[in-house]
Amino acid sequence: MSEPLLRTESLVKRFGGLLVTDSVSIDVRPGELHAIIGPNGAGKTTLINQLTGELRADSGQVLFAGENVTALGIHLRARRGLLRSYQITSIFEGFTVLENTVLAAMGAKEHAFRFWKPILARQDLVDIANQALEITNMRDLAEMPAAELAYGQRRQLELAMALAAQPKVLLLDEPMAGMSVQESASVVAMLKRLKGSHTILLIEHDMDAVFALADRITVLVYGKAMFSGSPEEIRNHPEVKAVYLGDEAIG
């Protein structure tokens, strides 16, 4: 088995008296799609925030590509290739789709203390951005101001921005939240295409999607990583069934 690309060691986060992340140790291996499921309030987004560095963990460690990144801020982790998409869409409304994506492509690679040439004159970055827009089916909308995008398109742009950073690990926080059935189907198809070439940690509510996509699933309950295993194992695990999936058969 290959060395995990992203790993946490007994990560703990408290908000006041509330234990939101309870000694979580998970790992993401290169090339796999690892999904995290759990009921509302299980601390999934809080966990992602600690992985990206937006939240400081109270104790425990985050190891990324063999390096301890626990003390690093978000932009330094992004520079190392740990990128995320947001559950609540977070794009630059005043820029076009292409500008959003090119900015994301640049941020992962270099500083922006360049004061003269237009950013869109950087053909190498524009090419990377266009590839990301191609994958997310956003190429035709490249010139559109982001403020005018429909909801589903914003989510797609969010993904394109994460992809344009050419991440080593992609953290996707409910990429299908609020999408129509057709839109989520196209995102599932897209993630299937990305699988294998990208290492992905996926948080998702849509069980059909998770079971269709994931190589491995971790169940998070009340901040605790209750169980990790293949979709098959999760499906048949009695405790998981009881806590999260209910008694109904899934499939």
Partner: protein
Amino acid sequence: MSSTKSNIWKAGTLVPLVIFLLFILVPVWGHYTDHNFYVAYFARILIYAIAVVALNLALGYGGLVSLGHALFMGLGAYSVALPAFYGIDNGWIHLLICLLSCAIAGLITGAISLRTSGIGFIMITLAFAQMGYFLFVSLKQYGGDDGTSISNTSQFFGLDLGGVYEVYVVSLVVLILATWWMARVRVSPFGMVLRGARQNARRINAVGFPSNQYLLVSYVLSAMLCGVAGLLLANLNAFASPSTLSWIISGDLVVMLVLGGIGTVFGPILGALAFLGLEEILKMFTNHWLAIFGLVIVFIGLLGKAGIAGFLDGISRRLAGASKVKPANQGAKT
């Protein structure tokens, strides 16, 4: 981002270009009609426009609402006045002192102010400017409250900035270069990160740019350019006083920028011209000009958040009949 070639006939670009052309003609006209007063008056407009361009970098692009930019204008002015007091009239030394003092002051006050945001940022920049104000008031040997007149204006290779035509031409060149640079920087990586930080600072960090570092650099650059405006102003007036550092000047700069169009390329020049022009015109009619002035500013404020520049863009869009393209400067949500 629309291409610049098709842009040039739009009102939003055409009007400022005509204004620049008229600015070039002012000294010619003044020379033949001997209206030195008006050349000096327009030089003042140019100099304020430079300061507003400087403010636009921090406030318009970066969203840093500074109510303390008079500090840097004052430092620029005293960079001429203090050496001149000791008989040093070398303009390069004045400029060096100006750029250095503004860079250091900008770095220190910026780094501290950036620990806050919103109202806190406004109050802290204001407080720093007031500290500068009272510092120069307390320097009695340089005139204190009354200020000091400058007998040795800046000399650059035999060019005396004290002459009204000289300072006019230099100010115009600086303003054109600064405006050009602002147009370039707007879509450059640096400008995009600043404008991105204004829209969504958290996201800029997540993309991989530490927003505060970029904002600090913009603040320092803004301070230095604002200092240059102060240096020119001191030469124009042959006078420097603490009133250059007063918070009223800081406020005027912000009003000029809002008037002209926050975050737009030509907004600063339009705003400075409208503000100072209106002031002069209204003064001719009544002593109570401030009352009318206030009403006019309210009215222009109602035109929308993009000020005069946005208004002109709106005209050309209506003329073109195409509402498909939104103005490029719409990222104005802070």
